[in-house]
């Protein structure tokens, strides 16, 4: 069980080079062709061009309003730049990561094997799917592939950021290797599974760079709403000019554009793509690679988590907690036998038996004199132990030990049943054909996991434990850990049908898997997280890869998905709620000339029509900058029920969005007066 909790160093938000690049990029992004993808900001840019034109014309004519037009123009351009900057910042962090990845992709030489087994040296770019290559100690693995022969320790730090090497070998669930990683020792033959440019690292680079970033379903839906609002405000402003003409005085175009920009949802429009990029990026920071933004979003919708028992709910290993001696056998004697039979047992279970035995027999006596021959565990015997001269001690599964002993005392049979019922695993110990007792091995539930499940339940997410254990054991662990449900004696088929069943009920299912036999389930699940240690088949079937291969990560993934949507929703609400105050700032400013009584609507008591309009535009621009950190970090996630979250966010971003600009615009207006721009 690999569990690297060390994370890649989190890129600091405001790191110098990222900011510098972002500033440059935000100017490049002024290109209308790239802005056209974002209808809201595109309208702002067109508006900026219009006011610029009026400003220049005013300057030439020496119009007294040219100064005002100039200020408005300046801040409109800032609005566009700030939005570009937000996006560039979000992309910047990804780009920095992509750079680091790309450095691992320097042209590698590959040792391709032809049909006769001869080595032929080619560039990695010449490799194709199905080729077989040899990688020896010190070689960079030239392409993604599956080991067909050999075993090697591989340094995967280029991908995972984890410096400890991992073992990769042919057959089984640890046979896949990633191009760009390095063989530390031994050799392996690899069958290439990805053409150049389509490998794992290429996918990572594309993802973090946002080059292939597709809009997620909810983002598209939100964009429709935002585009709709923008259109409505266009119609509002155009008709307003007609009504103003009817009422006796057309509104200056610059003022109209200023109002339009203030009204259309620039806050969310400017930050929307940054939020999406930052969401995927946050997953990257926790070493999860999402194959699409869609998967990240789906993670937020998950109603059902399938979690493997081992490693997620329990610590990876069972621990010995109790010795039950047979009648007539002292517990110390049993402990000694158990210890002796486990001395060579390097499994965590074996070690835990030795540790427990030490509390009974601190110093095993009489070992040194006799020759010890250790008998290793095999799948056939399902026993391991030691021969001390003529004495043979064996421990193993109860039914395997039963075959060795003449007679099982009823007390032990009862103990075996009790242990099994409590969710533990009984191991029997025999000495020279005589049952000596039973060792109680127990799954140790991870600390804090119960709380985690309670939080998930509050969020409306059902947790299902998947285990190969029998129903009895599974039920006991389920009860102890607080998981909602369990699937005992799970087979890949059972897993798949469970997922289908949940989906038929309309639920979205997330699961973690690593083996090839998990591939169908990973593909069927709405969110399938493959362990990076897993097979290529598993990785291809899932829509996320956890580079740390830590199954608990699924819970974090769900949180990131939810956070992503919440941030969008909160900022949209905030953006729309902002408009109310802008009306109260700008409408009286526009029409006080026609109807002096309109001053009554100037509830903020802004200094003059010009200062009111300028203050609104400045607020509108600055709020984008002020919210960049929130957009990149995401709204704080709380493990509450939906109702509580909705109430809280409606208050903060709805009511807050209503009130905040009244204060902000008033303050800016006072500032403008102070610097003589009122």
């Amino acid at each position: 069980m690999e569990q690297s909790l060390k994370r890649r160093k989190v890129a600091a938000l405001w790191r110098g080079p990222i900011v510098r690049t972002a500033v440059a990029d935000s100017i490049k992004k002024l290109d209308p062709r790239s802005l056209a993808k974002n209808p809201v900001m595109f309208v702002v840019e067109v508006g900026s061009f219009v006011t610029t034109w009026f400003w220049v014309r005013g300057l030439r004519a020496g119009s007294p309003d040219a100064g005002f037009a100039g200020h408005i123009t300046l801040w409109l351009w800032f609005t566009v730049l700030f939005a570009n900057f937000a996006e560039a910042m979000a992309e910047g962090r990804g780009k920095a990561q992509a750079e680091a990845l790309r450095r691992t992709k320097t042209e590698t030489a590959a040792k391709r094997l032809d049909d006769m087994g001869r080595i032929e040296s080619v560039g990695a770019a010449a490799l194709r799917k199905g080729d077989v290559v040899l990688a020896e100690a010190g070689d960079i693995i030239p392409a993604d592939g599956e080991i067909v022969e050999g075993i090697a320790s591989v340094d995967e730090s280029a991908v995972t950021g984890e410096s400890a090497p991992v073992i990769r070998e042919s057959g089984g669930d640890r046979s896949s290797v990633t191009g760009g990683t390095k063989v530390n020792s031994d050799w392996i033959k690899i069958r290439v599974t990805a053409n150049p440019g389509e490998g794992f690292i290429d996918k990572m680079i594309a993802l973090v760079e946002g080059a292939r970033r597709q809009k997620t379903p909810n983002e598209i839906a939100l964009n429709i709403l935002l585009a709709g609002l923008t259109l409505v405000f266009l119609a509002v402003l155009m008709s307003l000019q007609a009504f103003a003409v009817y009422s006796g005085g057309a509104v200056p175009i610059v003022t109209l554009v200023a109002l339009l920009v203030c009204l259309i949802p620039t806050t969310i429009g400017g930050l929307l793509s940054a939020i999406g990029i930052a969401g995927i990026d946050r997953l990257m920071q926790s070493n999860v690679l999402a194959m699409s933004g869609r998967a990240v979003e789906a993670a937020g919708d998950v109603d059902c988590l399938l979690l493997d028992k081992t490693g997620t709910i329990t610590l990876g290993n069972r621990m010995a907690v109790e010795f039950v001696p047979a009648p007539g056998v002292a517990v110390e004697e049993l402990a000694l036998d158990a210890q002796l039979s486990s001395l060579s047992d390097e499994t965590p279970e074996g070690r835990s038996i030795v540790v427990l035995a030490k509390s009974f027999v601190p110093k095993p006596t009489g070992i040194g004199e006799r020759r010890m021959i250790f008998v290793p565990f095999t799948a056939q015997t399902r026993l391991s132990g030691v021969d001390l001269g003529p004495v043979s001690i064996r421990k193993g599964a109860v039914d395997a030990v039963l075959k060795l002993v003449d007679h099982m005392p009823p007390a032990l049979t009862q103990a075996v049943e009790r242990i099994a019922k409590s969710g533990g695993t009984p191991l029997a110990v025999a000495r020279d054909g005589q049952a000596r007792g039973v060792i109680h091995l127990k799954d140790v539930v991870k600390g804090g996991i119960r709380l985690r499940f309670e939080q998930l339940r509050a969020m409306g997410i059902r947790t299902v434990m998947i285990t190969g254990d029998n129903a009895l054991t599974a039920a006991a662990i389920a009860a102890e850990s607080g998981v909602d449900d369990f699937l005992a004696q799970a087979t890949p088929e059972k897993k798949l049908s469970l997922i289908r069943l949940e989906q038929a009920k309309g639920r979205l299912v997330a699961m973690v898997g690593d083996g090839t036999n998990d591939a169908p389930s990973l593909a069927q699940a709405d969110v399938g997280v493959a362990m990076n240690t897993g097979t290529t088949a598993a990785k291809e079937a899932g829509n996320m890869v956890d580079l740390d291969s830590n199954p608990t990560k699924l819970i974090e993934i769900v949180e990131v998905g939810k956070q992503l949507l919440m941030t969008r929703g909160a900022l949209t609400t905030f953006s729309v709620a902002n408009d109310v105050s802008k009306y109260f700032a700008i409408i009286p400013a526009m029409f006080m000339g026609l109807f002096p009584e309109m001053a009554a609507l100037n509830v903020m008591r802004l200094h003059s029509p010009h200062s009111a309009i300028l203050a609104s535009v400045i607020f509108n621009a600055l709020i984008i900058v002020a919210l960049i950190p929130l957009a990149l970090r995401g709204v704080k996630y709380r493990a509450w029920g939906a109702h509580a979250v909705l109430r809280y966010n409606s208050l903060v971003y709805g009511v807050g969005g209503l009130v905040a600009p009244f204060v902000g615009i008033k303050l800016i207006d006072m500032g403008l007066v102070a610097v003589g721009l009122g």
Partner: protein, 575 residues
């Protein structure tokens, strides 16, 4: 405001609370094709209609076919009405000897009645024969109301069916709505109105001598039969020009009460029917609660400003306080027999719903009172709203609210277990935006057209209010007016007719598409992660979205209309 005035609101609202559940349950049965207490009487007739028209009531239609059938039905009905009005002089029942209706007016009127608007650019007693009133206009009162209800029911099916492709059978919904709902109620209600003194005859107009000796012509006609469906079907087209202010249409406090209640009966009951179909009546009551809150708020604003009257008159020493002998307040354009409270309540209800019947002249309301009525219409007439139209208008806002709320809790938004996705947002956005575009665009056009402005009786902000009201009323299929605008001109007849058509069908089609899209989705079970849509929090959010969407769209225009008028009035100037 007086206790008596508030009591009138209480009596209407109390009655609604009592009728919503039983009527909603009855309607649920009717549209499900289940047996009701009227089945023994009506089902043979129903079956005969199906046989005659070759309709299989059990044949399910997808949203496209449903919408197409509906459009076909409406268009054919509109064309027939147009022809009937153009040739009414040959069609009998014309004791007053009226001639054909002029082409522009006939087009406007045909569109107006087929869209359930009942905008009246004509005065009934001087334009329409009894035959046109009965076989033309009253027919459309029934048909257009039944169409609206059918759409609402189809939409409910879309929202509550899972993994389905169809929304029901339009023809069956249409027939059932008319036969089991509208006709029985109108038969009873019409007789009740007759008992109150509403006339029902085919006599020629009577010439009478007034007390002062002058001669007056009293128009006659089959009024009661048309009056009841005008209210119950939220049509609003009066038999006479004066509409429900006319003593032959609305003679007594009781007939006035029934008129107001009848407007809200079906729209309120639809919310309960929706709850039943959703398998959770709380969903229906939540929508009901939101509508009720907005209803109360609107009434209080209108009532407050109308009772307060005109401060300029008060400054000149006019007594506008209410007392035992006078209602006080702004009585211009109001019937003395109804007074302030009843006029304010009627105005609120008729603009909340897309009815448009009036018992007072909205044009004469104080600027703020008129603003409230106008804003009710601009909200999309979703406060109970027109029969069917109110419900499906509100459901669009529900979808937008659910979308925002869903994002805020970090899940793909769900309503009744259905995910609201990009396609659904597209339809909902269209359904909400197009009406606003039409109102703003046409009003702006009219405001810039010097020839159109000659129709205005009032200059300045009040004139703008009249234009805004006309297009809002047409697009909202309301039909009431700020009567200072002479709408019987080529320009207004045509633009208003198109406004009515766009306002009707450019909501119906997107909303049916939305229903079709949702019908096909699986229903996800609710969990603690899905926010409940039946809580006071959701009701408050829905009300906020309703107000903010309309407010943001219309505040600038309103600021130059009624708001400017109000502010200027306070400083001593009237228009």
């Amino acid at each position: 405001m007086t206790a008596m005035g508030l009591l009138q609101f209480g009596l209407i609202f109390g009655a609604l609370l009592l009728t919503t559940k039983p009527l909603g349950s009855y309607m649920n049965k009717v549209f499900d094709g289940e047996r009701t207490f009227l089945s023994p009487l009506l089902s043979p007739l129903e079956l005969w209609i199906y046989r005659l028209s070759g309709v299989d009531p059990n044949e399910e239609m997808g949203w496209r076919r449903y919408a197409a059938s509906l459009m076909l039905f409406s268009v054919v009905g509109g064309v027939l009405l147009y022809l009937q009005l153009r040739f009414q002089q040959f069609l009998g029942l014309n004791p007053a000897g009226l001639g054909p209706v002029e082409a522009g007016l006939a087009f406007n009127t045909a569109m107006s009645f087929l869209t359930n608007t009942n905008w009246q650019a004509y005065s009934g007693e001087a334009t329409m024969t009894y035959m046109s009133q009965m076989a033309g206009l009253a027919y459309h009162n029934f048909a257009s109301a039944a169409v609206g209800i059918a759409v609402a029911v189809a939409v409910m099916r879309g929202f509550t069916r899972a993994a389905a492709t169809a929304l029901g059978n339009f023809w069956a919904d249409l027939v059932r709505g008319c036969l089991y709902l509208l006709l029985p109620f109108c038969a009873v209600g019409g007789l009740f109105l007759v008992s109150q003194g509403v006339i029902q005859n085919f006599k020629p107009y009577e010439k009478v001598k007034t007390l002062s000796g002058a001669e007056q012509t009293l128009p006659m006609g089959p009024v009661a039969s048309q009056e009841i469906i005008k209210q119950f079907g939220t049509n609003g087209g009066g038999f006479f020009n004066a509409n429900s202010a006319h003593p032959f249409e609305n003679p007594t406090p009781l007939s006035n009460y029934l008129a107001m209640l009848a407007i809200f009966l079906i729209p309120a009951a639809l919310t309960y029917q929706f709850g039943l179909m959703a398998g959770d009546t709380r969903q229906g009551w939540a929508v009901f609660a939101c509508m009720s809150a907005l209803f109360l708020a609107g009434f209080l604003v209108v009532y407050h400003y109308e009772q307060k009257g005109n401060p300029l008159l008060a400054a000149r020493g006019a007594d506008q306080t209410s007392s035992a002998t006078q209602s006080g307040g702004n009585m211009e354009g109001k019937e003395v027999r109804f007074g302030i409270a009843s006029s304010a309540l009627f105005a609120t209800i008729t603009t909340d719903a897309s009815c448009g019947a009036v018992n007072s002249m909205h044009d004469s309301f104080t600027p703020m009172g008129g603003l409230a009525a106008l804003f009710n219409i601009m909200l999309g007439e979703v406060i109970f709203g027109g029969v069917g139209a109110g419900f499906y208008g509100m459901i669009l806002l529900v979808v937008v609210t659910v979308f925002l709320a869903g994002l805020m809790v970090g899940r793909t938004p769900e309503y009744l277990g259905k995910k609201i996705e990009a396609r659904d947002m597209k339809y909902a956005t269209l359904g909400i935006l197009i009406p606003s575009f039409v109102i703003l665009g046409l009003a702006a056009w009219a405001a810039l057209r010097p020839s159109a402005l000659t129709s205005l009786a009032n200059a300045g902000p009040h004139g703008l209010s009249e234009i805004l009201y006309a297009y809002s009323s047409a697009v909202g299929n309301n039909g009431s007016a700020f009567a200072g605008l002479n709408a019987n001109t080529w320009f207004f007849n045509n633009t208003l007719a198109w406004a009515m058509l766009l306002g009707r069908f450019f909501i119906i089609v997107p909303v049916l598409a939305l229903a079709g899209s949702l019908a096909g989705k699986k229903r996800a079970p609710a969990s603690a992660g899905t926010f409940p849509t039946h809580t006071p929090l959701f009701v408050a959010l829905l009300a906020s979205v309703t107000i903010i969407v309309a407010g943001l769209t219309h505040f600038p225009a309103l600021s130059l209309g009624p708001i400017a008028e109000h502010l200027v009035m306070l400083s001593g100037k009237l228009y």
